[in-house]
Structures are given as C-alpha cells and as structure tokens.
C-alpha cells in the first residue's frame, strides 16, 4: 500500500486511472479544476488523452463519443458546469453509454462562491436531464480516501449498468487534504474494496434489450456490428422510432435496470439507530461532524443515532423504518435531503432540517439543536430561515 497525503481531487484522478479511464474532457471550474489539471499530467503517462473542451456540453459529449468508441471516460465540474451537463447526461442515459461524472458542489445558486462547500445539487443530481423516465446512480464521498473508492466504484457501476454515474462530492472533499492509501498489490485492492470491469463490446443485434438485465456490454461503434447509438427512443435494434410502445419499453428498462438491481448500489453507514429516539441524517463532509455529534450525544446519555448516505440515488427508503425524530444536516439553506427523509420516514415521525452553507456546522450547534428537538422546544432561527419545505 502506498501512503500519501493528498487532496480529494488527486484521489479522484488516481482512482479514475486505476479504474481504466483513458479519456478526460473537461472545462476548468473551481473547485474541480485540479481534477482536470491532474488528469492532464497523469493521463499521457498511461497512454490516455486529456482534452480541454470549449465548454461543458462539449466536455461531456466528447466523453460520450469516446465511450461510444469503447474507451472509459470521465468529466468533472462544479454546479455551474453540472447544470450544463443536462443535455449530454441525458444522451448518455438514453443511449446507455457509461461515463463517470464528478460534481464538486460549491455554494450557489449559479456561480455563488467558488471556494466554499455547498450541497445544492442533491435533486439536480437525480433530475439532471429533461424528459424524466429514467433512474440514476449517485455516490457521495465524505473523505479523500472515500473519493478514491467511490470513483473506482462509479466506473464499475457505470459499466455494469450501461449508464452515466455521478460522484457528488463537495468542495471540502475535493480540496481537502488527508491521508490517501493507494493500492500496489492485488491484496491492497481487495483491502480497499476496489473492483474493475473491463469494457466489452456488445455484439448486437439487440442493442437495447427491453428487460431490466444488467451486465450487457454497451454499444461500441467501429466494429461494424450495425451499432446504432442516439438520443432518440430506440427500438430493440437501436433504431429511432415514434412508437409509444417502444418508448414505454425503453423507459421501463432505464428505470428498472437500476431499481431492480439496487442491492449492488445501496450503501450507507449507520450509528446507534436501533434504539434511537432521534436520528441525524446527512451525506458528504457534514456527516463527519454529524458522527461526532452523535457520539457526543451518546456520551451525554441521549438516544441519538445517525445515518450517512453513501449512495444517494436511488434513494434508500429502507433505511428509514424507525419511528423517531429525524434531523437532516445539509450544506444548503432550502432543505433538499430533508424532503426525501420526510417522505420516507414512517408515520409518527417528526422531520427537521439544519441548514448551513459555505462552512460546516459545529458539533455544539448540532447538540444544541438535538437537545431542543428532544425537549420539544422551538428551534431558534433567524426570520428568513424557516423550517418549511
């Protein structure tokens, strides 16, 4: 095992290359630029290509084109670029082309603050493209080491499910410096939980199976198999069609290939949930403060637990079976994760939201809020900061 001290951006780069990524196309944006810079430095050393595209849509579509030709590809951005990925992301979803997408969230809306962490793209990562009729996979790292593992995992899932996979990080993960362990042997790889799927070529002719089966290799052009790859609703042969029946089959496949195989995707961490009267829910960097707050609350004898979502989408409703007071801790002011928890939590539960932006909450702030909720006291909030969503 090679032990280094590096950023999440570096971890993501190293992971992508380990996973077999040989093309990166991107457009510089803080705080994800270092991924592009690292890729431009490292990819040529493994015979891979770095391209700085003319804009974000081009970046993603260059990745799509390379992936359609059989290469593993990745792009990285932050919120203002992520929204521009809507079009090519949809193209990859519909034509079932695997690409890995990294979004290092910063404070918004729009350009916001470049160097401060936010979590404003929780829903955007689910509903990035138009037209609906699809399910998606989103993974959320909370540390530099996890950024490495989840980037590798994103490539693995992208190949198995023939779909783009999003790594939804935040500025603290990508810019943060921590110990990073890199595998050197097969044993290291096992220990770090790393898996790799090599790209295979689907021989056709049934390029778009109307089943929810996975592990069907993606369409790869250039082999003269009559491969057809497009944004149009396809028939089984890959042709475009105006038949609603085919649209139904296509949508069914896009949704259920992921939902029916979610055991491969679902991942979460739970702390003291079994007897908890109150459960803190979070993902990404804030979850590290949440974990400390849960431990501190337990030391004070409070029955507080925590859930950290590692995979965000498909949403893990099954984690919210306990009737309790839930508190989501998020790096946004409007409350996004809270809505899903409110929906998933059993009847009789209460759901609360703690927002912060640009900086992490403190353990003390969380303990104070936990105490008030447990004592049924109203939460102290400034006038514009209402607990309604």
């Amino acid at each position: 095992m090679k032990r280094t001290f590096d950023t999440g951006n570096a971890a993501i780069t190293e992971a992508a290359i380990w996973a077999g990524c040989r093309l990166f196309a991107g457009y510089p944006i803080t705080p994800a630029t270092e991924i592009a810079e690292n890729m431009s430095r490292l990819l040529p050393q493994v015979g891979g290509y770095y391209l700085q595209a003319e804009d974000e849509t081009a970046s993603f579509h260059i990745c799509n084109g390379a992936a359609m030709g059989g290469m593993k590809a990745m792009t990285a951005t932050s919120g203002p670029g992520f929204i521009l990925y809507a079009d090519p992301f949809g193209w990859a979803v519909s034509s079932e082309i695997p690409v890995v997408v990294v979004n290092s969230q910063r404070v918004g809306p729009v350009s916001g603050i470049t160097g401060a962490p936010g979590q404003g793209e929780f829903y955007l990562s689910r509903y990035l493209t138009h037209g609906g009729n699809y399910e998606t996979i989103v993974l959320a790292p909370a540390s530099v080491q996890e950024a490495y593992r989840l980037t590798v995992r994103a490539f693995y899932l992208a190949e198995r499910f023939r779909t783009p996979v999003t790594v939804l990080a935040d500025q603290m993960v990508t810019d943060g410096w921590e110990t990073l362990l890199l595998p050197e042997t097969a044993e290291d790889e096992r220990e770090l939980g790393l898996e790799r799927v090599e790209r295979a070529v689907h021989p056709g002719p049934d390029f778009y199976p109307s089943t929810d089966a996975i592990d069907i290799p993606p369409v790869v052009l250039g082999h003269n198999t009559g491969g057809a790859c497009s944004d149009w609703t396809p028939t089984e042969r890959g042709h475009d069609t105006e038949e609603v029946e085919w649209q139904h089959r296509h949508a069914w496949r896009l949704i259920h290939k992921i939902r029916s195989n979610r055991a491969l995707i679902d991942e979460a961490e739970e702390w003291f949930v079994d007897d908890a009267e109150m459960i803190l829910v979070s993902y990404g960097t804030p979850s590290r403060v949440v974990k400390s707050a849960v431990l501190a609350a337990r030391e004070r004898g409070l029955k507080v637990g925590g859930i950290r979502l590692v995979s965000l989408w498909p949403f893990q409703d099954h984690l919210f079976t306990r009737t309790a007071a839930y508190l989501t801790v998020e790096l946004n002011w409007d409350g996004q994760l809270v809505r899903e928890v409110q929906r998933a939590a059993p009847d009789g539960s209460r759901t609360h939201f703690f927002g912060k932006c640009g900086e992490l909450p403190s353990v003390a702030e969380l303990l104070e809020t936990v105490g008030k909720i447990l004592r049924n006291e109203p939460l102290a909030r400034s006038g514009w900061e209402r607990e309604a969503w």
Binding site: A25, L43, E54, A58, I62, G65, G70, M71, S230
Partner: protein
C-alpha cells in the same frame, strides 16, 4: 439509387421518411456515389447525424455503425469517437444548417480548429423545416417563413458579404466546398476529396424543401419551379453564393487525433510539446 441503397442502407430505413420532392434523398445519393467510387464499404465508415430534417431522416439509415447527437452536439461526439476509432475509419456526419451553423456553430468551429478528421455534409434546406419552417441563418433575406412572416430580416451567414465557409476556413478547416444537390457530378467529386482529406472537411449541400420553404418563401409547391429558383440562386453567374471547392488545404495541417496521439506519446516519455 437502388444498387447503392442496397449496398449501404438498411432496408427498413429506405426510402426513408423525407417529404415528397425533398432534396435530401439527392444529398444522400451524392454521398453514396462518392463513397462507392472510393471503394468504401460499410465497415469503413461510422455515420453520425444531428437534429432536424437531415438528422432524423438520416440516422440509422447507414447499414454500418451509426450515431446521432442532440442539437449541435454531434461534432463533440465525433471528436471523442475519433480518439477511440482506428485512424483509418471514416466519420461522415450529415447535419442540417441550423444544427451546424447556429446551435452547434461553436462546436463546429472548434472541430475545424482542431482539424478533427471527419467529413461533415451540411444538408442545408435554408431553415428549420422539420419544426414547421422557421428562418435559419442561411434563409435568404426577405424570405417569408413561419417565424419571419414579414420577411427574413436578420443578417445571415450567406449574404451581404458573409460567408459561413470563410469563417470555417479561418477556423482551420482543411477542405470546404459548396454545391446544390442539382449540380450533377461536381458535389460527388467534392465529397470524394473531402473523404480523402485526413482532417476536418465540410461540404455544404444546399437542397430544396418543397413543403415549407417552397410553399412559404417561394409561394409554390411546384417541384420544377422550386428547383428553378435554386438553379438561379446558385448557378454559374448567378448573384447567389459561390459554389464549387471553396478551400482545399488537404493534408496541410496535422490532424487532431494524430496530433494528440503524438503529444501523448511524447508527454508519456516526459518530453515537452
């Protein structure tokens, strides 16, 4: 057409869904004739399309491998694909005037700047016809369309001193030609030259839309009258646009894929560019 259609087109996609009298079929024919005369087989070509009339009606028509991009994005897909394909594979893209010269123009210019090896055939029907006939940036000045009911008023890319191909030349394209689909063998020869150029080539093929442009802008659905208008606008000595080979600098600039492969190889050894 039948022999070539049988050789290159999927039987279920021929004769296609274009309107009666549409010049798009003539545009296809020119490309097939050029490919056939060069001895290209289906396995030698990956065929891409954009949106609009030419995009939708050309996608998955080629018997070999085929792809389509969303509005104005197919040049980016082709740029990525170029790196994954063996250099000897040809990429042909049939896209419309709106896809290329409007929404995708930035990407088209960058593909020209990079000299990405692809042959772009612009099937130019002078506007947005598949959406019902709105003006585009090659619609003639004064032409009445669904979105220029009092006549096309915007400066466009092909009149009043503008020539979109000149912009592409400045951007670095290494082969540029313009024809109408009524020009006989000349467009076939230009497409052949375009296919032989290992770099960014573009052939603008202007073709008549009878259904919308004919009816709304020329006031006739009569095929002969519409075709006559085209001959007058683009024919020799006409006031219209120059046709023929506009710029042939084949092989004069390094091709994108070759350049990036060479850079990658040198950089991999630690050499500077």
């Amino acid at each position: 057409m039948d022999r070539l259609a049988e050789k290159y087109f999927r039987p279920e996609k021929y004769p296609g869904t274009a309107c009666r009298g549409c010049g798009l079929r003539l545009a296809h024919r020119k490309v097939l004739e050029a490919a056939d005369e060069l001895g290209l087989e289906t396995e030698d070509v990956v065929w891409g399309t954009g949106i609009g009339c030419s995009g939708r009606q050309t996608f998955a028509t080629w018997k070999g491998d085929t792809f389509a991009g969303t509005h104005g994005q197919v040049y980016c897909l082709a740029t990525g694909l170029r790196l994954a394909l063996p250099p000897e594979k040809r990429i042909i893209i049939t896209a419309g005037d709106g896809d290329a010269f409007t929404i995708g123009f930035n990407h088209l210019l960058n593909a020209a700047r990079r000299n990405v090896d692809m042959t772009v055939i612009i099937c130019d029907n002078l506007g947005y016809q598949s959406t019902g006939g709105q003006y585009g940036l090659t619609t003639p000045g004064g032409a009445r369309t669904d979105s220029s009911p009092y006549g096309m008023w915007e400066p466009n890319w092909t009149e009043d001193g503008f020539d979109v191909l000149r912009i592409l030349k400045e951007a670095g394209a290494t082969f540029l030609a313009r024809h109408t689909v009524l020009d006989g063998q000349a467009p076939v020869e230009s497409i052949q030259k375009a296919l032989l150029n290992r770099g960014f080539s573009l052939v603008q093929l202007v073709y008549p839309c009878v259904t919308h442009f004919g009816v709304h802008s020329l006031g006739t659905r009569n095929l002969a009258e519409v075709y006559d208008w085209f001959r007058k606008r683009y024919g020799a000595g006409a006031d219209g646009l120059a046709t023929g080979i506009i710029h042939d600098a084949s092989g004069s600039r390094p091709e994108f894929g070759a350049r990036l492969r060479s850079y990658t190889e040198r950089a991999g050894k630690g050499d500077a560019a």
